[in-house]
């Protein structure tokens, strides 16, 4: 089984551009009744271009192909080209619709099949010389691009391999040893922080708090250089409970009383109810209001009542609660305001710019205002576009590389921050 490896870690496989061109060459003399459907999967959002998704999309054609005079070609960029001869369009439509439906949340599939707005497929009547030439030219172009891209990807893959980044998968058998190493490895020096920044148009903004976290890349080098820690989400979650305890121990020794700055920590709900947290709590004294506890949505959904206990427990003691791990898609499916957190953190991805439909934007704007504008943070902000996108939804608090640069620039100008 493909244990959820990151797409970049897969060994690149060549596309079938060349085969398709040969096929077209043979067809040239007798193209009566032949047509092609070019399915532009390469234009899907990156999140929808995962190899496992693409594999399933391709399989959806299996039944169709075995029942008709047709062949499917897979391009290196993930596009599919379905070649048919004398197949009724009515038979092709259902299979295209089926594949389209798989990606129903993707902006690419919004246009009606065959219509002017259809960006998902391009149809070519190969008996028409113009159409024939257009497809041939397109595939030649893709072949050229694929050759270059393939070499590049292969090099990258080799580099990754040699960096042994992929390594053995995390498994129950090596989990205990890694867990044990994590308990004794020094981590204080690999704790990093990243600010959440309140952007005020035309004015100098302010840091809301700084999220403290363990640099995972560094930690991996120390505890398990040859293991892919992220192969199993559940086993990784298991390790985070150990990391929580280490983090709390280190943070207990840092004196928050010296500053008025706020910090945030990512914790499992289990940890919040543990003795380690109790000790951290005692070390804080009256500074609990400077501490934001970030809780992951996956943790919340696996036991809502445990979340509520933890939430009340924290709030009664003066902490603030943040719900982490929301995607812009997620808030279309549930109302996070019911969680009554002080902050909601939504992760941004470049695929969200300019592609959302108006009514979805309106929906999201409503959710943001309902959750309280002051409480919504857009994270993983890596460009100005992201800030603009957030601002159109009424968001004013941001976190990410782009913000780090911004904060650095501001503090350089004002001398201190």
């Amino acid at each position: 089984m493909n244990t959820g490896m990151l797409p970049g870690h897969m060994e690149p496989q060549k596309g079938e551009e060349e085969m398709l061109l040969q096929h077209l060459g043979r067809l040239r003399s007798d193209a009566v009744g032949a047509f092609a459907v070019h399915v532009h999967l390469s234009d899907l959002r990156p999140g929808n271009r995962q190899p496992r998704f693409l594999g399933i999309a391709k399989r959806s054609f299996d039944e169709f192909i075995s029942g008709h005079d047709s062949i499917l070609f897979t391009m290196y960029n993930a596009d599919l080209v379905l070649m048919c001869r004398n197949v009724p369009i009515e038979d092709v439509d259902p299979v295209i619709e089926k594949v389209k439906a798989l990606f129903s949340e993707d902006p690419l599939v919004q246009g009606e099949t065959g219509s002017y707005e259809d960006r998902f497929t391009t149809w070519h009547d190969l008996s028409q010389p113009d159409d024939f030439r257009a497809l041939s030219a397109k595939i030649k172009e893709q072949e050229a691009a694929a050759t270059i891209k393939f070499e590049k990807d292969l090099d990258e893959y080799k580099v990754q391999l040699s960096a042994t980044d992929q390594g053995t998968p995390l498994a129950p058998a090596n989990l205990a040893a890694i867990d044990q190493t994590m308990r004794s490895t020094q981590i204080a020096d690999i704790i990093r922080n990243q600010p959440v920044y309140h952007v005020i148009p035309g004015k100098k903004g302010a840091i809301v708090f700084r999220e403290h976290f363990i640099a995972m890349g560094e930690l991996k080098k120390r505890v398990a250089p040859n293991v892919n820690l992220f192969g199993s989400p559940w086993l990784f979650q298991y390790l985070t409970e150990t990391l929580d305890r280490r983090m709390l121990a280190v943070m207990s020794r840092r004196d928050l009383g010296k500053t008025t700055d706020s910090i945030s920590l990512n914790l499992n709900i289990n940890t919040i109810m543990s003795r380690d947290f109790q000790q951290f709590h005692e070390s804080l004294g009256e500074h609990t209001s400077q501490v934001v506890i970030e809780i992951q949505i996956i943790d919340i959904f696996s036991d809502l009542s445990a979340y509520h206990h933890a939430h009340d427990f924290l709030r009664e003691r003066g902490y603030k609660v943040l719900v982490d791990g929301l995607s812009p898609i997620a808030i279309n499916f549930f109302d996070p305001s019911i969680l009554q957190a002080d902050f909601l953190k939504i992760s941004w991805g470049p695929e969200f710019v300019g592609e959302e439909k108006e009514d979805k934007i309106a929906d999201m704007r409503r959710i943001v205002s309902r959750a309280g504008k002051h409480g919504v943070i857009l994270s993983r902000v890596d460009s100005e576009d992201a800030v603009k996108w957030g601002a159109t939804l009424g968001i004013a608090r941001f976190q990410g590389y782009f913000i780090d640069k911004l904060v650095a620039a501001v503090s350089a100008k004002s001398g201190a921050l």
């Binding site: 129950p172 005692e282 003691r317 499916f333």
Partner: protein
């Protein structure tokens, strides 16, 4: 800091103070009345602390005039005790509070959803009722704080260990997964039926859920280990079990599959080669008879994958159910958008404790999903069915339903026995009319059985 914490611990809750107050009121009931304002039923974003405080402040003038006493409970509900001479002022205050929340569904749809904004009590005649309500509320609050404490209690985890076995560790998990590769699990597969229940409590099977009994698995493989002690490790184990289940479902000689079935699976497994191989082996017409159950936390761990996979399996003909829903999860999640065919609501006595407002809310949700698409699961008593029926749920599953099925089997056996006896006693009768006979006279068969 520790000191203030202790002080907090010792401080009685508003709920407890309310119980005390009602006790003392017993001797001074004459000329007083009580109103309960059901702010707990407001949508959460209207139920923030500052909203509740603002609502309570509206009663402040009456309290200052020593004509009333107010309690603001953890749930958000207000209990206001007042003298009869300020009845008018109190009614105005309640109206003002109502006006404050006029955009909330509780009020906007009051007529439609049969929700109630306020309940008025006469301190003399309704006293027992008030006593009962405040006691119940205090108990809920006590349990809540007790729970929170016990989570932190080493003693509690020790006790769990003694009762349930050593917590699952990675090493033990590795051994179990190793053993699972070879073990024959077909005798650990259990099935539980989801049924329609008619007015005389006779169940009709709709589909059956197949699952590997964790209890039996534990006893077979690792009797001293609590497999559920760490949920992340357990989740990982379920992925292994998924694959075993799929391979058993592919080999129909291993387990008999009849009628519509459902099974629980991880979304990651649905995207694995094991599932694709399983799917290849399933006859196309069987897919419509299969319901794939997904856990809500799995769905929200990766919504993008869920949406993709749901579409994939539905287009193949399978049906999808969201499992493990609670009242709160139902309020939280837009199940319509999730596009599943079915929702499984876990039975919990608190659904009844919630009173009429909760019932009205649930009824409305069931209506929007369609009662035939909702399964009330883990029903362990008659109350579950009574509540389910009152809100329009049509399907039921759980220990209690299994008992009903067993009972029904017995009843049918007895009917058959009776028919045989009658046949041998008398001339043969028309086969169809045996059910119209009076059921009361076949009790004689019971002792022989």
């Amino acid at each position: 800091m520790a000191e203030t914490n202790d002080a907090k611990k010792r401080m009685p809750s508003q709920e407890r103070l309310l119980v005390d107050y009602v006790q003392r009121l017993e001797k001074h009931r004459e000329g007083r009345a009580i109103v309960q304002v059901h702010l707990s039923a407001l949508r959460p974003f209207n139920r923030r602390d500052h909203h509740l405080r603002a609502a309570a402040n509206i009663f402040e003038p009456i309290v200052k005039a020593l004509a009333g006493q107010l309690f603001l409970l953890k749930s958000g509900d207000i209990f206001f005790f007042f003298k009869n001479e300020v009845q008018g002022d109190t009614e105005t205050a309640v109206q003002q509070v109502k006006y404050m929340f006029s955009d909330d569904l509780l009020i906007a749809d009051e007529a439609e959803t049969h929700t109630i904004f306020s309940t008025w009590f006469n301190a003399v005649t309704d006293f027992p009722e008030v006593q009962r309500i405040v006691k119940a509320m205090a108990e809920v609050e006590d349990r809540r704080t007790e729970d929170a404490k016990s989570r932190m209690d080493a003693r509690a985890s020790l006790r769990a260990k003694q009762k349930m076995g050593e917590p699952l560790t990675p090493d033990v998990l590795a051994k179990i997964e190793e053993a699972l590769i070879r073990a024959d699990l077909s005798n650990l597969v259990r099935r539980q039926f989801a049924c329609k229940i008619d007015d005389t409590m006779v169940p009709t099977q709709q589909f059956s859920e197949l699952f590997i009994s964790i209890q039996d698995l534990r006893e077979t493989l690792m009797p001293d280990v609590n497999l559920l002690a760490n949920r992340w490790l357990f989740q990982h184990l379920t992925e292994t079990l998924d694959r075993r289940m799929l391979s058993m479902l592919s080999k129909t000689d291993r387990i008999a599959i009849t009628g519509d079935i459902s099974f629980n699976i991880n979304i990651r497994t649905l995207m694995s080669n094991e599932f694709l191989a399983f799917d290849d082996n399933v006859a196309a017409n069987r897919r419509g008879a299969m319901i794939i159950e997904l856990q809500k936390e799995d769905i929200f761990a990766d919504l993008g994958s869920y949406l993709f996979v749901r579409e994939f399996v539905q287009s193949k003909g399978y049906r999808v159910a969201i499992d493990g829903m609670t009242l709160e999860a139902m309020q939280l999640i837009d199940h319509k958008r999730l596009g599943a065919n079915m929702v499984k609501l876990v039975w919990n006595g608190e659904l009844v404790d919630g009173g009429e407002n909760v019932q009205a809310q649930v009824r409305q949700m069931i209506e929007s999903i369609g009662g035939e698409n909702v399964v009330m699961c883990r029903c362990d008593n008659r109350e579950a069915i009574d509540f389910g029926k009152s809100v329009g749920i049509q399907l039921y599953q759980g220990r209690y339903i299994e008992n009903l099925l067993a009972e029904d089997d017995r009843r049918l056996d007895l009917l058959r026995l009776k028919r045989r006896i009658e046949r041998s006693d008398e001339a043969p009768e028309d086969e169809d009319d045996f059910e119209e006979k009076d059921d009361a006279d076949f009790d004689f068969g019971l002792d022989d059985d």
